[in-house]
């Protein structure tokens, strides 16, 4: 190796010359790649951290909102409790609960014996005696004016498939029966399920007073339909209707004496002789649809 002569410079000059600052572009590019890679990794990591923080903030915010809502509800509950007055909402919930309980009791009934009374003068007065047993049939005995008793059998609670009408024998088309005004009061109570549907959907009942004493423990449900006030007395023990009365709304509003336009008395889950529910066809006559 030849001796190096760097005139006028000491060790510092010699080292500076040996370790020149002459980074080639290729080497610079190769090293630059590492910085780029590190930067991209950091940017990605930062984005992940930000996303994570956003998620946490979202969760914490949700928790705070839930906590705030809970506190508000607790305070509101306390205020309502101390206020003494039940809210409209509580009333509404209570009403729905009562109606649904009555309705459920009706749907569970195994037999029904009810009497529908339509007060009136002369021919306008009528009464119906309905007897229904689950999965068998409904028998309706109608007595209107001086026309005697007419009986209608409806198999397994289907009004539309009424078989037989008349004085125990005369066939009639089901459509004609359902259109017959005379039968209408009875057809509303043909089965407990139908009555339950009316209670749920048509009457708009509200629980009012409770009456007890003299062997009676019942509460009243009052509703309204077709310009008539509907009043149902429900047994507290069984939650099944005892009576259903209808009054004319115009008379009630006018403050006149209430006049009952229809009264229904129910008896539930009592045994009904099966033969009563099976039509007795006269000799040589068959049901119309068979």
């Amino acid at each position: 190796m030849n001796e190096k002569n760097i005139p006028g410079s000491g060790l510092k000059g010699f080292l500076s010359q040996m370790f020149k600052d002459d980074l080639p572009p290729e080497a610079e590019a190769r090293m630059q790649r590492h910085f780029c890679r590190l930067e991209s990794v950091l940017v990605r990591a930062e984005a992940q951290v930000k996303t994570h923080r956003c998620q946490w903030a979202h969760i914490m915010l949700r928790k705070e909102v839930m906590a705030f809502a809970s506190a508000v509800m607790l305070i509101a509950g306390g205020v309502m409790h101390l206020g003494g007055n039940q809210s409209v909402l509580a009333h509404s919930i209570g009403r729905v609960k009562t109606v649904l309980t009555v309705s459920a009791g009706l749907r569970r009934a195994t037999s029904m014996d009810c009497t529908v009374l339509k007060p009136g003068d002369g021919d306008a007065q009528s009464s119906f005696h309905l007897r229904w047993t689950a999965r068998v049939a409904t028998r309706v005995d109608m007595e209107a004016g001086n026309r005697g008793v007419r009986t209608l059998w409806i198999p397994d609670a289907s009004v539309s498939t009424a078989l037989y009408a008349g004085i125990a024998s005369r066939p009639a088309a089901s459509a004609a029966i359902t259109r017959d005004v005379l039968w209408q009061p009875a057809l509303e109570y043909v089965t407990p399920v139908l009555l339950a549907r009316h209670i749920e959907e048509r009457y708009g009942l509200i629980e009012t007073e409770r009456r007890s004493g003299d062997g009676v423990d019942e509460f009243l449900l009052i509703g309204q339909e077709n310009q008539q006030v509907i009043e149902i007395a429900v047994d507290v023990g069984t939650y099944l209707p005892l009576t259903l009365k209808k009054y004319r709304l115009d008379l009630v509003r006018a403050g006149e004496e209430r006049r009952c336009v229809e009264e229904v008395r129910f008896r539930w889950n009592q045994p009904i002789p099966r033969e009563l529910l099976i039509p007795k066809y006269p000799a040589g006559k068959k049901p119309a649809h068979q």
Partner: protein
Amino acid sequence: MAAATPLDAAHIVDAGTPESRTESLVTDDGTIFDELIAPMQARMMRSIWRIVRDADLAEDCLQDALAVIWKKRSRIRCHPNPPALMLKICLDEACDALRRRARTRQQTDLPAPDNAAVSLEPDAARSLEERELVECVQQAIRKLPRKRALAVMMRLIHDEPFEAIAQALDCSEVTVRIHISKGRAQLRKWLSPLCQSLRQEEDEDE
């Protein structure tokens, strides 16, 4: 020597206890590249290249240096002179790389790659001669104790002030001056056969 970045200054002035400061910095990794590494990119690459003078080795060194910097990022941000500390880390890695290469060559008993090249061209011969010279100087540098080598490189090759070197090496300025003086003497002694001016300098000293 560049002063500490504004971010570091802010941390040093405003932060509370060292523990809380470290915690806050660790969670703030996103700004490390922009605040510390990006301004030092060129300097880091050049400082490594000047010592190792080999593209592959320089790449490896940089990678290792970046790994060390990332590992010690909290300490670097709290350091009174982060650029000096980062330069020291790069030079340290460069020295390590030279030592590793020398060790590998000894173990495999291979000649230096450029020695194997046969060329009769005058330019090539000069280049080869220059490379041998550089390798000799590198060998002298790596023979120095670590701190002494770092102090010499930072002062004589990178012109760093004594104060910055002391901060980077975590010692006093007096110690740095001693390191440099001794290192200078040792290098002069080892390298004087290669350079006439060094021999003259040595004679003058004597």
